[in-house]
Amino acid sequence: MSLAVRSAFRQRLAASGPGWALASPAVVWLIVFSVLPIGLMVAMSFWKSTIYGTRPDFIFDNYRRIFANSLYVNQLLSTLRIAVSATIISLLVSYPIALMLSRLKGAFRPGFLLLLFIPFWSSYVVRTFVWLPILGRNGAINQFLLWLGVVDQPLDFLLYNEGAVLLGLVYVFTLFMTLPIYVTLDKLDPALLEAANDLGARPLQAFARVIVPLSLPGVMSGSIMVFLLAVGVYVTPQLLGGPSGLMFGNIIAAQFLSDNNWAFGSALAVVMMVVVLSVILSAGRLVGLQQAFSGGHG
């Protein structure tokens, strides 16, 4: 570091007082209630849980148990597969809506935007629950099919499987995909499309070569958001998944809520955290983090 740079840094440091003072309540809160608890969880993943409780130790047994047993590795892989599928489906479902919203004129646009938001303002517990009386044995779909006479026995495969989990995830999280894509499409200069048109591009070509590439930042931040939300989900698989649709989050939760094996649960949680963080960090190299979390708008 050259002398000039160092003294400039020292000046910045000296001028940092008021900034730090203003930031301190939130910073202290987050260090005490987020950073320290995460640190404790990482430490506990090396501890030992017995029937007498969880004792400090430094052993790798918990991690060995995770990676020696194909059950946990497979569960992690299938959880990643479900989260990626939910992300891709959300992308396919959301993109046309974002496109349509960005093309709406006049008062229609705020109206449809608001209509898009309203369902997402309700608890996702409720919005996951709504699928039970729809997909279940006595559910709306079965009753409707019976009434039509298409089937004479209620269908049992609608609920309690991976498909139901995917449906629930897309229903609950798709707004996080729609909105960032909409924001990037909305910022797109209409003159670009006119230029493409003047240069002889057909609508499909203009879409593939102008609209899609320019909306990629929104697609990226939407995908990160939906993946993050889906990978750590607990409610959806618990309600809609049945035994075959369980995800990693349910296995972690069981260690704390029923099995009382906090050390092993911590190790599982650390594995999930590492997976999530590596996805974020690699994606964060492509788009800024704050941008990703403010709907491609920051």
């Binding site: 008021p18 930031a23 809506i97 629950f129 009386p133 009753q143 993050l228 990978v231």
Partner: protein
């Protein structure tokens, strides 16, 4: 959700007069698809509203006549009424704490200081951390410290953690949009720091503050997964709903769902209205 809401607001004001080229065949296809999409969003909610009035002991169809009986059952359940009170009180307290911290943090981002990027990363941490881990780390932390779970202790901390990043992102946009020249003018006219804050910054930012409070309230009101791990004896509405779903599919569940949907929607709509006012004022 609040950030997303704030993002979309800018369009509520400015969308009106931008002419766009339409591509006819594609536009029609898009319109048909959009109708299907909105049916997908609202269909399940419509069915739940219908089921909440269904005169049947079993949650589901067929429809056996309309009744408001299930709403009476819901309002007669003491556990649900106290959960409703808990959720509303907790929502306001955690919204107030998170909004206050987010406000000062937003003010700090109007200056340049060493470690700013680190602070930003720290604030985003509770969003990056999957919700289930957000609950588990606090369960471990409070368990290790021997702090008994309680509504206004452990659950409050979990809620503030969750709400804070969203409150910050919502408020920060408005604070950065605030013209520094206004404050400087007040300073030049002899106002002291606290006077600038109370008589210049706060009045300008008030609608944004109210909007942030309301969005934070509805985030807290709907929070479930973090609460599940750190709650004690006093429960919140989503937790009571959850146990009603998991224990047995209680016939009054659709009515409970409709009531919570109405409360969350009302809170967020008010927040939306205030945020729209805030962005109009600044435009």
């Amino acid at each position: 959700m609040s950030v997303l809401a704030a993002t979309a607001l800018d369009d509520v004001g400015s969308a009106a007069q931008r002419p766009r080229r339409s591509l006819n065949g594609w536009s029609i296809a898009l319109f048909i698809y959009a109708t299907a999409f909105y049916l997908f969003l609202y269909g399940p909610i419509a069915i739940i509203v219908l089921l909440s009035f269904n005169n049947s002991e079993v949650t589901g169809l067929p429809f056996r006549g309309a009744t408001t009986h299930w709403y009476e059952v819901v309002f007669a359940r003491p556990d649900l009424m106290s959960a409703l009170f808990n959720s509303i009180a907790l929502g306001f307290i955690s919204a107030a704490i998170a909004t206050a911290m987010a406000f000062f943090l937003g003010l700090s981002f109007r200056r340049d200081y060493v470690g700013q990027q680190l602070v930003l990363g720290l604030v985003l941490l509770p969003i990056i951390l999957p919700g289930i881990l957000g609950g588990i780390v606090l369960l471990i932390f409070f368990g290790y410290l021997g702090i008994r779970p309680g509504l206004y202790t452990t659950v409050l901390v979990a809620h503030v953690n969750w709400v804070l990043p969203f409150a910050f992102l919502t408020l920060n946009g408005r604070l950065q949009g605030l013209d520094r020249a206004v404050e400087e003018a007040a300073m030049d006219l002899g106002a002291r720091t606290h006077q600038v804050m109370l008589r210049v910054v706060l009045p300008i930012i008030r609608p944004a503050l109210v909007a942030t409070l309301l969005f934070s309230f509805s985030l807290s009101f709907d929070e479930f997964i973090r609460t599940l791990f750190v709650m004690g004896y006093d429960r919140t509405v989503p937790v009571v709903l959850w146990s009603a779903i998991v224990d047995r599919l209680a016939p009054e569940l659709p009515a409970m769902a409709v009531i919570t949907i109405l409360i969350s929607t009302a809170g967020s709509l008010c927040g939306f209205a205030f945020a729209a006012r805030a962005s109009k004022r600044q435009a």
